[in-house]
Amino acid sequence: MATGSNGARRIVSLLRPSLVDSGVCRSCQQTLGRRNYASAATEASPSEASSTAAPPVLKPVYTINAGMVLSRAPLVTRDLEPFEKAYHFYQKRLNERLTLPFTKYFYFKRGTPADADWKNKIRERRTPARDIGHYDPYGPEAWNDELLVGSRESDPEYQAEMLVQDAESTANNTSQDTSKREEIPRPFPRVTEADKKGDHHSLNRLLPRTLYLLVQSNEGYWKFPSSPVEKDESLRGAAERTLVQSAGINMNTWTVGYHPVGHHVYDFRHPRPGQATGTTLHGEKTFFMKGRIMTGQANLSANMQNLKDFKWLAKEEIPQYVLPQYFSNVKNMLSDR
């Protein structure tokens, strides 16, 4: 992936195809090769002659694949860390002590039901703010602004709930119709049903995370949708075709760029004969294009890529499914959030 000395080493290893064995890692291959030369120097000349007899220099042939890393962007902001919650809560209570007092008569006309309701609530919670719990910024206990362990006041969900409850009670106290209770809809939960059920097919899961589409081949391997690039086809075109052929047309997607965001090289354990006569394939190289899904859902029922299942996974769930080598190649192009 990174060029430089690493790339140079790779080129060197590619130029000595006789030593390439996919079962041995690259650095071990190098040391083996070096030891070969060293031992050749110490050994007798006939073996040296055989080693310098130059293995037939043939370029290893790889299949070029185009893949699509289709992602769904996060739908909600991330969850706050406990420290961040505590910090924001502290700032709110500090702000109570530092700002000008709330000018009630500017907002509430004297003698109105809203005014009476406001007075009742202030008497109860000692402060105009609804989301900082029971706290009196002007009293002698104003210094005591820290939360006890286990209290929920710093939770954003709790604060939103308190706001909604306050709006509801105001609506009920000030309305003349006492027969029916006003209901204000709560914000939607950040944890969806798909999360609770563990439904990996749903796009409605893990809202604060980026999800990626992974497909399972009939042999059981998980991967990003990818297929060989055909003749006279660009990488982007091939990636889009792959997506349509594997996950169906019922998705509104957008391919981000014309350049791949990452690649994965897979060396076969033993070279295979290629489709064209006389060629041997040493492996396949997959280049991944970046894509976004706007609407729709994957559907493998009409796929032409020998796939049997798909999942929408966050980054940290992917290593459970793909091979370790595959994940180490693709992990740097996946978003942490």
């Binding site: 709110k92 530092l98 700002t99 609804r130 989301d131 604060q159 706001l163 909604v164 105001t170």
Partner: protein
């Protein structure tokens, strides 16, 4: 003001009293008391001073609910705890160009609008109506009959190429009117 400054400045106006001449002992005698109009005596005080509240208005946390149900909180001077928007980026056509609902396109499922237009509509609507009416619903027997009739009329028109255009238009309009009557029944 004087309470808050740790460095207290006292302006002593020079008078002809003995204290001022004692204080100004360092100054040379050549400069008369009339030339040095005022001097400041600074003394440090270390007691706790009152911090003034900054002149910032009181702000509440408000929960904003957008028209699609997404929510966020922000700080505002408004004492209303919850605010529901009726129009925002979530139901504006400008931000949702692919939404047919927002674009105000009618989905004419039963073909009733098309039938109405064919009968009473303007000329260009009437001309465009038949294909949409045919495509509207193949299950409705009346519409299918009308479609067959229209197809027959088209065949006839193709056969009788020498018929004049006016004749064709008049027969076309009559057929439409008859199909409309059938629908009404």
């Amino acid at each position: 003001m004087a309470l808050h400054n740790p460095l207290r400045r006292t302006a002593a106006t020079i008078t002809n009293s003995t204290t001022t001449s004692m204080l100004l002992s360092s100054t040379p005698q050549t400069t008369g008391p009339s030339t040095a109009a005022a001097t400041f005596i600074c003394s440090q005080c270390r007691h706790a001073t009152l911090l003034r509240r900054p002149k910032r208005p009181y702000t509440f946390t408000q929960l904003i609910t957008l028209s699609d149900g997404s929510t966020f909180t922000h700080r505002t001077t408004s004492p209303a705890p919850v605010y529901r928007t009726t129009r925002d980026t979530r139901n504006s056509l400008q931000w949702n160009p692919s939404s047919n609902k927002l674009r105000g396109l009618e989905d004419d499922e039963a073909g009733r609008l098309a039938a109405f237009r064919a009968r009473f509509g303007r000329s260009w609507d009437a001309a465009a109506a038949p294909p949409s009416a045919i495509a509207a619903d193949p299950k409705d027997p009346v519409a299918q009959k009308a479609a067959e009739e229209a197809a027959k009329a088209q065949e006839q028109a193709a056969q009788e190429e020498e018929d004049n255009l006016l004749d064709l238009i008049s027969s076309f309009g009559q057929e439409e009117a008859s199909s409309g009557k059938k629908k009404k029944d």
